[in-house]
């Protein structure tokens, strides 16, 4: 007869079995790590002098020599890993000397052969190493591999290798167009991959910004979003009216970040934009700049139908110092009775309250006094709300 007790016993057996399997798996992983560490330690010991030789002679005209002793496959792999790390750490002549050394060591030839292998694992490993070694002649085979590869994380390993090995912009463009065929959203990752190529990134991203394909435009925007060049603002200006809301949001964000001064008509256009997100971004940017030039625009934003914009604008005006606080308090008084005035007054009072807890800092104390003075003057308050201690 099958009872609940039997079921519990079977369950315990299964649990015990799972535990044994997991312990065995952990043990295997641990053993592998120990073995790997031993190989690394041995490598460090045997190769320390050679690695010192590489470090000391990385710069200079003389070509680096291969180790004067024979290496087994494990040592070659360890040396290759070390060289990969070094190539990524250094620029110019030092990096080029390491690439030449990889060729002299036969690593380039070895991995070019492996790229033609029938084993998928070997091909991916070869693609990665060829990328590390910036092997230009590997690009056609890598592009072919990329084209036939399914959509998963390894796809980007191959793409990165192509970008690192790229002979010119054409190779990068070919890689991008293959990836774009997957029709997935990975603009940021792809922009990061493109930046690994030794081509004019700004020109390439600028070109993508002019493209008709929204995916390419998004890629262009992802590429230029970290630039702080006024030229970028002129390039993305044309996208401020883009139909695609995501593109428009990104374009506005980049435009506001890269521009150091905005024409008044552009500010007015953005501050009155139908999308609240755009209006909010604009106010936040104006707050960051702390330009008195946009005082009127920020005052206007206090009447924005969206409370978030109104709040951001009030905060922005307080950031502008005495002049901004005067405008803010005046606006609050003008709008009193309609609910909005009280809301703005509440924001000012909150700020006064907040600053009153930080009066040990001179900067906060000065700000506190300035806001409080204008507040009392505007609202005709006879007694101070918070006393300076």
């Amino acid at each position: 007869m099958f009872t609940n007790l039997n079921l519990a016993i079977y369950f315990l057996y299964i649990l015990a079995l799972v535990n044994v399997v997991l312990i065995a798996a952990i043990y295997i992983i641990k053993m592998r790590n120990i073995k790997k560490q031993k190989i690394i330690d041995y490598f460090q010991q045997r190769f320390q002098d050679y690695l010192t030789y590489l470090h000391v002679n990385l710069e200079g005209k003389e070509r680096l020599h291969v180790p004067p002793f024979k290496m087994n496959r494990v040592e070659q792999v360890a040396l290759q890993e070390r060289l990969n790390e070094m190539i990524d750490s250094f620029t110019g002549g030092a990096s080029q000397k390491l690439l030449d050394l990889c060729e002299d060591l036969g690593f380039v030839h070895y991995h070019l052969d492996r790229l033609q292998s029938r084993s998928y694992r070997n091909k991916v490993d070869a693609a990665y190493h060829l990328g590390c070694m910036r092997v230009k002649e590997a690009v056609p085979a890598l592009l072919q591999f990329l084209e036939t590869h399914k959509y998963n994380s390894t796809l980007f390993v191959i793409a990165r290798s192509i970008s690192r090995c790229a002979r010119d912009e054409l190779d990068v463009r070919a890689m991008v167009s293959i990836l774009m065929m997957h029709k997935k959203e990975f603009s940021d990752l792809l922009a990061d991959i493109i930046k690994e190529a030794t081509v004019d990134h700004a020109a390439l991203f600028g070109e993508y910004l002019q493209a008709n394909d929204p995916a390419l435009v998004r890629l262009g925007l992802a590429g230029v979003k970290e630039y702080h060049d006024p030229k970028v603002s002129s390039v993305v200006y044309g996208l401020l009216d883009a139909q695609d809301t995501e593109i428009q949001r990104l374009a506005v964000r980049i435009y506001l970040k890269s521009a150091h001064f905005l024409p008044r008509n552009v500010v007015n256009k953005l501050i009155r934009h139908e999308r609240v997100e755009i209006r909010l971004l604009t106010i936040q940017a104006l707050t960051e700049w702390k330009h008195h030039t946009y005082l009127n625009e920020m005052k206007e934003a206090l009447m924005d139908p969206d409370r978030r914009v109104m709040y951001a604008s009030a905060v922005g005006l307080m950031e502008l110092g005495q002049e901004g606080v005067v405008v803010l308090c005046g606006s609050a008084l003008e709008m009193k009775g309609a609910g909005r005035g009280e809301a703005i007054q509440g924001i000012i009072e909150d700020e006064i309250k907040n600053l009153s807890t930080k009066l040990h800092d001179v900067e906060h104390l000065a700000r506190y006094n300035a806001i409080l003075y204008t507040y009392e003057k505007t609202f005709d308050e006879n007694k101070r709300i918070y006393r300076i201690v």
Partner: protein, 268 residues
């Protein structure tokens, strides 16, 4: 040509000085390798010479063994530091395979490693006969005086490759360099050694680069000079580093020439 000497160190110094000076006066570079090894005889020296010639057929060298001090000297004609360094790898491989190596190997190439003065050459010999630490590593001799305001440098980075590279290159230029792999270790070393300059990554465990700079500022009102050498490329990181008192900001991948130029600029 193999020569046996049974004189004191002073003769070894004199012999080296004569050889190096002669080469340098004639506008040629002169590589020197000194190795502490025991039980070398004429037969071994001949086989060493064959071994070296096999690996480097273009090598023109004199092999001298001082059996009193147990120092093997190899004097290389027109051999720059880079080539001398590589030759020392071949030599070490031979000496270790035959169990002759007893201490460290010291290399130099004049005039690259300094003035070929008798003082420098006696210092070079001293590195082998009276080493500061017993090891069988290859050490590079340089004229130690930088003559600059910055003499000691602390390199803080999690990446061993970067730490080792920067240390080696700066040591070659005469700086006293120490390493730390995280912010906490860096702070401890800073308290112990008070280095003139800290070269730090921002991305560090325990205490990050910003916290490290902050702590240093709190401890020392004069604030030790800090150069940031980092993977972080964004201007926001750069601004924050400068706000915390960084003297310079270099992004990776980097060039050692640029780094040394920036250090020299701080010295100016």
């Amino acid at each position: 040509m193999a020569v046996f000497m049974r004189d004191q160190v002073v003769d070894l110094n004199q012999d080296l000085f004569n050889f190096v000076s002669f080469k340098c006066v004639n506008g040629l570079a002169c590589g020197v390798i000194l190795a502490r090894c025991a039980n070398l005889n004429q037969k071994v020296l001949d086989s060493l010479k064959n071994y070296m010639s096999k690996h480097q057929p273009e090598l023109s060298a004199q092999y001298v063994y001082d059996d009193h001090n147990q120092v093997l000297s190899i004097l290389l004609d027109n051999w720059k530091l880079s080539a001398t360094h590589y030759t020392s790898l071949i030599l070490k491989d031979f000496l270790q395979d035959h169990h002759f190596l007893e201490g460290s190997i010291v290399i130099a190439s004049f005039p690259e490693s300094g003035e070929p003065s008798s003082f420098n050459l006696s210092q070079l010999v001293g590195c082998v006969t009276h080493p500061k630490k017993e090891s069988k590593e290859i050490r590079i001799f340089t004229d130690q005086s930088t003559g600059e305001e910055i003499q000691s440098i602390l390199v803080v980075d999690t990446d061993e490759v970067v730490r080792e590279f920067v240390r080696l290159r700066l040591e070659l230029q005469g700086y006293a360099v120490s390493e730390a792999k995280d912010g906490h270790e860096a702070l401890e070393k800073y308290s112990l050694m008070s280095p003139d300059l800290i070269i730090t990554e921002l991305n560090l465990p325990i205490l990050d680069g910003y916290q490290l700079m902050n702590q240093i500022n709190k401890r020392d009102s004069k604030s030790g000079k800090v150069i940031v050498l980092t993977d972080k490329h964004l201007s926001s990181h750069m601004n924050r580093a400068f706000e915390l008192g960084a003297a310079d900001y270099i992004t990776k991948p980097f060039s050692i020439s640029e780094l040394t130029w920036r250090i020299k600029k701080l010295n100016a």
